[in-house]
């Protein structure tokens, strides 16, 4: 893996990072149980909109890909597909310990144990599952990272594309397409 490059941004990028930090639009990839923690985060007690955050409908519109729980080999393909459809700059947040180390089903044949082998995770939120306080806290962290230009996972992904691809292929194996609905 390459080292993350030094932080030398142009003025344009600095301004852009300011906007991006204050307007975080998320695509929630609700693969597991963690998604249940998002509604409390949105609604009146925590109100994530005050930070300019909000859910978006499609990856095209979103800045952050939020993966809330277990990933299986089947869903990983979809996650990667969604990630690649997002517009730069884009950030990945791993939500819950299952994205970190596979959680309690770490030894299943179908579970993806370590998300950052496949996608450039900018931030993990630990916990099973993380409470809204933790979520707000960590998004505060992400905002700071973006503001400083430290959240560069998307550049990393580009630079180490072969490495990520190899890991992905390794995990997924070859996909044989039979027809539209069976592979």
């Amino acid at each position: 893996m390459h080292e993350v490059q030094k932080n030398d941004r142009s003025l344009w990028e600095v301004v852009g990072d300011y906007f991006r930090a204050n307007s975080i639009w998320m695509k929630w990839y609700c693969t597991g149980c963690g998604a249940i923690e998002m509604p409390p985060t949105m609604t009146s007690r925590f109100d994530m909109e005050q930070l300019g955050m909000g859910p978006m409908a499609t990856p095209r519109q979103a800045d952050v890909l939020l993966i809330t729980g277990y990933l299986s080999t089947k869903t990983l393909r979809r996650v990667i597909y969604s990630y690649e459809q997002m517009q730069d700059p884009k950030y990945v947040v791993g939500f819950g310990s299952c994205t970190l180390n596979g959680g309690i089903y770490y030894d299943s044949y179908a579970t993806i144990n370590q998300l950052d082998k496949y996608l450039p995770v900018d931030l993990y939120i630990a916990g099973c599952m993380p409470r809204p306080e933790a979520i707000m806290n960590s998004f505060g962290e992400l905002i700071e990272m973006i503001k400083k230009g430290e959240a560069k996972g998307w550049k990393h992904y580009k630079e180490n594309h072969e490495w990520y691809k190899a890991n992905q292929m390794d995990s997924l194996g070859e996909v044989i397409i039979h027809d539209e609905f069976h592979e």
Binding site: G16, F19, S23, T43, Q50, A57, T58, Q61, P89
Partner: protein, 302 residues
């Protein structure tokens, strides 16, 4: 037509954008308050739009871009036609039909661009949006015909100035109460506010026409939405609430009207698209017809 006209026009577009975008931000806060939240900063909408402009983007072919430009261009041109407190960049171009049809250029451009992305959800969204338009526009048009018949002019600025000077009771909203109610209901449809927002249903059809937009095209769509809101609210304001004698009065009235729609829609559920059509053709169209018949055949409303 001199250079000054164009500069005024440009300023009108810019002003409309700034004004409406701020108002949108404020209204996001209002909505948040309704829901017992704190809500975002008042300039959050600007941040969102500029962020979208700052991101990288994709294109699905030239019609995808061309449609977006055509949409925003058409809408920007429409803003130039709108008389604001008696001010117009190009005097004499404020015929109501011209405005409502130039508006359609924007609609068509957006629909074209969305369909050009090749996403089926975009097409479903466009289909719903156009159906929605057919629903809300007919009652509104009936009211507009009544107005033109009554005042014998199709010019928006003249229609606005006729209502001024005799206080609040000079407004068409009070002279033609049924028509006024119809047009405010139609305004909800025009703005795509609940309960008539099924064409951008985010969870059902992934925000409909907007599904493929990201980056600068998304920013353009947001800008377009702001400008379109400005046009539509201004139209209702000029036709039924007497426009504004001065810019300040205009802005205040505008803000009240817009916030009203926002508050109402904040507590509304959502109609399915066929329900919306049925609703518009039952209640508002009926009211509009009653209003029209009263004015035309019985001479009421003067």
């Amino acid at each position: 037509m001199t250079l000054m006209n164009f500069i005024y026009g440009f300023l009108a577009v810019l002003g409309a954008f700034v004004f409406q975008t701020s108002l949108t931000g404020i209204n996001r806060k209002v909505t948040a308050r309704l829901q017992k939240r704190r809500g975002p900063k008042w300039y959050q909408q600007f941040i969102d739009i500029f962020k979208a402009f700052s991101k990288s983007s994709i294109t699905h072919g030239w019609v995808y871009d061309f449609g977006a430009i055509m949409a925003l261009g058409g809408i920007a041109a429409t803003v130039i036609f709108i008389p604001v407190a008696g001010m117009q960049a190009f005097p004499g171009l404020d015929n109501i039909f011209v405005i409502s049809y130039v508006l359609a250029v924007g609609m068509l451009g957006m629909a074209m661009s969305a369909a050009g992305s090749g996403n089926p959800w975009a097409s479903i969204g466009v289909s719903r949006a156009l159906t929605n338009m057919l629903a809300y526009d007919i009652p509104f048009m009936v009211v507009v015909f009544t107005l033109i018949y009554q005042h014998n002019t199709g010019s928006v600025s003249e229609l606005a100035s006729i209502q001024q000077g005799v206080g609040i009771l000079g407004w068409n909203f009070f002279k033609l109460p049924l028509g006024g109610i119809v047009s405010v209901i139609a305004l909800f449809g025009m703005l795509g506010k609940k309960p008539f927002d099924s064409f951008i249903a985010p969870a059902e059809i992934a925000s409909g026409p907007m599904v493929e937009y990201g980056g600068k095209q998304l920013g353009m769509m947001f800008t377009l939405h702001e400008l379109m809101t400005f046009i539509e609210v201004s139209l209702i304001l000029n036709l039924f609430f007497g426009g504004g004698e001065t810019l300040l009065i205009y802005m205040v009235k505008y803000a009240i009207l817009y916030t009203f729609t926002n508050i109402v829609s904040g507590v509304m559920p959502r109609f399915k698209i066929d329900q919306a059509v049925t609703f518009f053709y039952k209640v508002p169209l009926g009211l509009a017809f009653i209003q029209g018949l009263l004015v035309i055949y019985l001479g009421w409303g003067y």
